[in-house]
């Protein structure tokens, strides 16, 4: 059984994911986590001894080596077209070294 977590725990976790949670949202997660913990018990109860994790539905190879030839390129203008701030052909962010 998972240990019950509090609001502060989830707020700190969200910060690691680069976003904030309001008190109300963190509280919702605390409540939903209690339901999830009961559901996770159903998962943990399955005996998976000797079972390999399944990463993709099929294990037939679909990836092949190709010639190292340039294809499917986009222009610099296209690459930058969705950026909010562009300076001299680069994505622009606030100065890092001050």
């Amino acid at each position: 059984m998972e240990e019950i977590k509090d609001q502060a725990y989830f707020k700190a976790l969200a910060r690691k994911l680069m976003f904030e949670l309001t008190d109300e949202e963190a509280d919702d997660i605390v409540q939903e986590f209690k339901t999830l913990c009961v559901q996770l018990q159903l998962l943990e109860a399955i005996d998976t001894t000797g079972v390999e994790p399944m990463v993709y539905p099929f294990e037939t190879p679909t990836v092949y080596l190709r010639e190292d030839e340039e294809n499917h390129t986009i222009s610099q203008e296209e690459a930058l077209s969705n950026a909010s701030k562009v300076v001299q052909g680069h994505f622009s962010v606030p100065r890092v070294v001050k």
Partner: protein, 472 residues
């Protein structure tokens, strides 16, 4: 009107496209199913270049997670509300070459993470059969537009049941073929090992035609299959004599809606009358109850990783701040809705090194056992079937579900089996419950779409619900 009917009368394609555009605008006030309207004028001007295409002059709606060059693609999320792709998804190219004309980008649950289509930044999508009810999600806009007769075909994506459940709620055909059958290149991802591309149509035969256009190997999607594309329409005969069909007992036992069960039983009797061999089979109940938590972990863990690039720097709705880190935090806080942030938190919890083995890897191991269980059933049967949902579409404000009940864990979520296995799966309308549509779901063996569509056609023949109108 179906795709096949439109193809018989391509001379009036332009007229029909303009009519679809008009219907789309008229429907918006009630359904709220569209994020972006596409002006078809330029596509109409090029219609002659696609004479004889399998979708010649057919108006189509795309789920808003399909990248369309030069056309806003938001995935119904605030963080992408100004994103204009510089490339087309592979399926967009294929449909355009076949003569399709895109008229709308359809609403969806934000980033495809939901089953209600109530979390789009543009507001909830309403069900054409009853505007107080949800269309289902995450591909709810696409389902509603096909159900309302705006377009005969709409693209959806399906990670848990995001095509097949809204199809049931809206009374249309919803089909996701085998994982790898259709390229995912250019589809904004949710969970890479579970995501499928598929279609909503108004008949099974239209689903077959659509697949023929969309299917095939694409080197831009390393998981796409090289198996040859078949002439699916040729196989859709509705001939089920001698076909073996398994009814999933676990799902039936978890449903208490008599009207849904009545519709389902009528279909089963019809299949038997047509010569199908129908047996009731039971899957391991413990595995079925572990399906949803395993899905929840795998999907959210993969989503957390997939969406780490949404930071407002290279694209997306940047919120300015003093430092790069603060830009990302503010952009992501304001850009993602509460449900998305909750799911990312759960996803990252499962990925912590101390949890990875007992949660994420355990979920992946259980996935393998579940896939083996499904394969066991399909060794002896051509398809397995069950009601797609325990009843009709819930009301938009319905919060009554018990997330620990069998009804929720098994009857409401069994179609995840099709995503875990990657097997082709289709929902076909089967009748009404309390005035709302209900569908039957059929799932077949990997890459045996022809057989699945053939049996689905038999269901459609039994119900007579082909190209049925809202209110029929």
């Amino acid at each position: 009107m179906t795709i096949l009917e439109m193809l018989k009368d391509t001379a009036h394609a332009e007229e029909r496209i303009l009519e679809a555009v008009q219907k789309a605008h008229e429907s918006q006030k009630d359904l709220n199913a569209i994020v972006t309207f596409i002006d078809p004028a330029e596509q109409i001007a090029h219609l002659n270049e696609h004479k004889g295409g399998l979708l010649e002059g057919v108006p189509v709606a795309l789920k808003d997670n399909v990248n369309t060059k030069g056309i806003k693609t938001t995935a119904s999320s605030r963080i992408l509300e100004n994103y204009i792709p510089v490339f087309d998804a592979t399926i967009v190219k294929k449909m355009r070459e076949a003569g399709a004309v895109f008229i709308a980008k359809a609403s969806m649950d934000e980033l495809a993470m939901g089953g209600t289509n109530t979390t789009s930044v543009t507001g909830p999508v309403r069900n054409p059969h009853n505007l107080e009810c949800m269309a289902g999600g995450s591909s709810g806009g696409s389902a509603a537009l096909v159900a309302a007769g705006v377009v005969p075909m709409a693209i959806g994506s399906d990670t848990g049941d995001s095509i097949r459940k809204p199809a049931s709620f809206c009374g249309v055909v919803g089909f996701k073929p085998t994982y790898g059958r259709i390229s995912r290149y250019g589809i904004i991802p949710y969970s890479s090992s579970l995501d499928h591309v598929g279609v909503f149509t108004r008949s099974v035969k239209d689903a077959a035609v659509s697949l023929e256009v969309l299917a095939g190997r694409d080197d831009h999607d390393m998981t796409s299959s090289s198996l040859p594309v078949e002439h699916y329409l040729d196989a859709v005969k509705g001939d089920v004599a001698g076909k073996k069909i398994a009814v999933l007992k676990n799902v039936i036992d978890a449903i208490d809606d008599e009207a849904t069960l009545h519709c389902f039983n009528d279909v089963i009797e019809g299949l038997k009358a047509k010569g199908a061999i129908v047996d009731v089979v039971e899957m391991n109940e413990d595995l079925l109850k572990a399906l949803l938590p395993a899905y929840y972990l795998i999907a959210n863990c993969e989503a957390t990783a997939n969406h780490s690039n949404l930071d407002g720097i290279r694209f997306g709705n940047r919120v300015d701040a003093e430092t790069s880190e603060e830009i990302m935090i503010k952009t992501r806080t304001e850009g993602f809705g509460p449900l998305i942030r909750k799911r990312f938190v759960i996803g990252s919890y499962g990925l912590f090194w101390e949890n990875q083995e007992k949660l994420f890897r355990q979920a992946q191991r259980v996935r393998r056992l579940i896939v083996e269980e499904v394969s066991r059933v399909l060794k002896d049967y051509d398809v397995y079937v069950a009601p797609a949902a325990p009843g009709g579409a819930p009301k938009l404000d319905d919060t009554s579900r018990d997330e620990l009940s069998d009804k929720y864990l098994v009857a409401d979520n069994h179609m995840i089996l099709g995503n875990f296995t990657g097997y082709p799966s289709i929902t076909v309308p089967m009748g009404l419950s309390d005035g709302m549509p209900v569908g039957i779901n059929l799932t077949g063996r990997a890459f045996e779409e022809s057989e699945l569509l053939n049996i689905a056609q038999a269901v459609e023949d039994i119900t007579g619900l082909c190209d049925s109108k809202v209110g029929d």
